[in-house]
């Protein structure tokens, strides 16, 4: 207990009162029991995956081409979706945090809607706009002969749609927390708003952007509902890992589904942990 208290106090020397005394007090049972249950609830299903895994056949299942294809597609689409979200989401967050305009609250609310919508609803909504008969999709098809459903691009669109709010919220939060006086100083020294953004604002909120990007990537990697609804399910083109897990369990291959789930779990935890150490703790 005191060890943790020391550690926290050392990490945040600017806090007025070290939290040592609070931690030293007895933790109320009314909080401890539900907290322990909550932890158990979160950890037990993950433990189930590990315990239930078919360890003997694991090596051959891991190297199955179908598995590697789905994993590769997942990593590729989640990464591109994150780049798209960064390119569009960071400016959007800046707009919401730094520019006063009418209807800003409404726009902020709109940005977070995909966050609370069930992903399958996102998929239906995407179909209605970008589907072959959709508002924009029909035009795309007629003009360029190009349709998004059943393409890898469609997967990226679905992932970016559900993941972007995570990035926007994280970056906007970082911008609001950043000291605006640096930007004002840059402006008084003659920097344009663009130069200020690229040379002052962005470096200032870089850890926030990184944290948002990690959240965004993790959300994109796990995307299922919007993808299967909007982009369909075909190996190598639209079948990402979550879709492969679903198809495997639906076809009665429980062991196969467990293996795929384990891989997804390992990949996301490893990458999140690596990025966490590198980026987020510096925030």
């Amino acid at each position: 207990m005191t060890g943790i208290g020391d550690h926290e106090a050392a990490e945040r020397p600017n806090l007025a009162a070290p939290p040592r005394r609070r931690l030293a007090q007895r933790v109320p049972v009314g909080l401890l029991v539900p907290a322990a249950l909550g932890l158990l609830f979160l950890v037990l299903p993950l433990a189930g995956l590990v315990i239930r895994a078919p360890w003997t056949t694991l090596p051959e299942r891991l190297t199955e081409p179908a598995t590697l294809t789905a994993l590769g597609l997942s990593l590729q689409t989640a990464t591109i979706a994150t780049v798209v979200c960064l390119l569009l989401g960071v400016p959007l967050a800046w707009l919401l945090a730094r520019v006063e305009f009418r209807g800003r609250r409404v726009i902020r609310a709109l940005v977070t809607v995909p966050l609370v919508l069930p992903p399958v609803v996102c998929g239906v909504a995407l179909l209605l706009v970008f589907g072959r008969k959709g508002l924009l999709g029909a035009w795309l098809d007629a003009t360029f002969g190009f349709t998004l459903p059943f393409t890898t691009t469609g997967v990226i669109v679905a992932e970016a749609f559900v993941a972007m709010p995570f990035l926007v919220i994280a970056v906007e939060g970082a911008l609001r927390g950043a000291d605006a006086r640096y930007e004002e100083a840059a402006a008084t020294l003659g920097a344009s708003r663009w130069t200020t953004f690229t040379h002052v604002t962005l470096p200032l909120v870089a850890p926030g952007v990184a944290a948002g990007a990690v959240l965004c990537w993790a959300r994109a990697l796990g995307e299922f509902g919007a993808t299967i609804t909007f982009a369909g399910n075909y190996p190598g083109i639209t079948q990402t890992m979550p879709l492969a897990v679903y198809q495997t369990i639906e076809s009665g291959d429980l062991d196969g589904a467990v293996v795929l789930s384990l891989i997804l779990l390992t990949v996301s935890v490893t990458i999140l942990a690596a990025l966490h150490d590198r980026w987020i703790t510096s925030a």
Binding site: R132, E250, S251, G252
Partner: protein, 268 residues
């Protein structure tokens, strides 16, 4: 609004209570005789949970309503999905009374695990058609037309019965097609046609008929080499075994057959 809700609720409760009384009366009257299978006069009470292949959605929903009408006090609940998914759920302990599969293979997964009470009965057969949007804009006349450039096709995944039937039919026709998507049950494949996202999908004749306002079914000769048999069984761990037996008997009865025939299923 409030009073209307109360009235509806009271009416519902009255119906339930009456159903319960009738059920009690009947079961007391036939207490000594063994429960006879078939749509007999002995009313079934309680909820009957039926896990049925997605292609049975319309016909079983109708049969469920008829069954409830014939057995006041009973409720039939359905779980429609791809047959392998249902088999997995049952073998993982889902509290179901009846399983109706779109292929013997998925039924066997359940009976092999010891979850079938007695041997399954084949109650219908079904075969594939090519579902195309109303008016058949791409002029599809047979399987070979599905290989044309610019024709997008949805198939069921090979693990589900409609997908297995599709690959048998395509093999029989020696036609190779590259679908744009592999769906988890026949209704999902059909909905891609309804949405206009694909130009064709291989679905059961019954599904095309059920969706006749939006799609039409193009018959093709090779479907005769990919006929699916549908088995039905009462489950070993059925929470409502009497209800399960009565429901299966009802499906096999003339009234059940009439509904299935009208939906486009063939007699086994």
């Amino acid at each position: 609004m409030g009073s209307r809700f109360v009235r509806t609720a009271v009416a519902g409760l009255t119906v339930l209570a009456m159903g319960g009384l009738v059920g009690c009366g009947k079961s007391m009257g036939t207490a000594d005789s063994a429960p006879s299978p078939g749509p007999s006069s002995s009313a079934v009470t309680g909820t009957v949970t039926v896990f049925a292949a997605a292609s049975l959605t319309e016909s079983f929903t109708q049969i469920g309503k008829d069954f409830e009408a014939a057995n006041s006090g009973s409720t039939v609940k359905f779980n429609f999905a791809g047959s392998p998914a249902l088999a997995t759920q049952i073998n993982q302990g889902a509290p179901a009374d009846v399983f109706a599969s779109a292929s013997p293979k998925n039924m066997q997964a359940v009976t092999d695990a010891g979850n079938g009470d007695g041997s399954p009965t084949t109650f219908v057969k079904n075969q594939l058609v090519i579902a195309v949007p109303k008016g058949n804009p791409k002029g599809i006349k047979g399987l070979a037309d599905l290989t044309k450039a610019g024709v997008k096709v949805a198939l069921c995944a090979e693990q589900v019965p409609c997908g297995a039937a599709a690959s048998r039919a395509l093999a029989a026709a020696t036609v190779k097609i590259t679908p744009v998507t592999l769906e988890q049950d026949v209704k999902a494949a059909l909905s891609k046609v309804k949405l206009g996202e694909v130009d064709a999908a291989l679905v059961y004749r019954t599904d095309a008929m059920a969706a006749s306002t939006d799609v039409e079914g193009v018959e093709f000769p090779e479907s005769s080499s990919a006929i699916n048999e549908y088995p039905i069984v009462v489950l070993t761990n059925a929470p409502n075994k009497a209800g399960a037996q009565a429901f299966v008997a009802y499906v096999l009865s003339d009234r059940g057959k009439a509904v299935l025939n009208a939906a486009g299923f063939q007699a086994p």
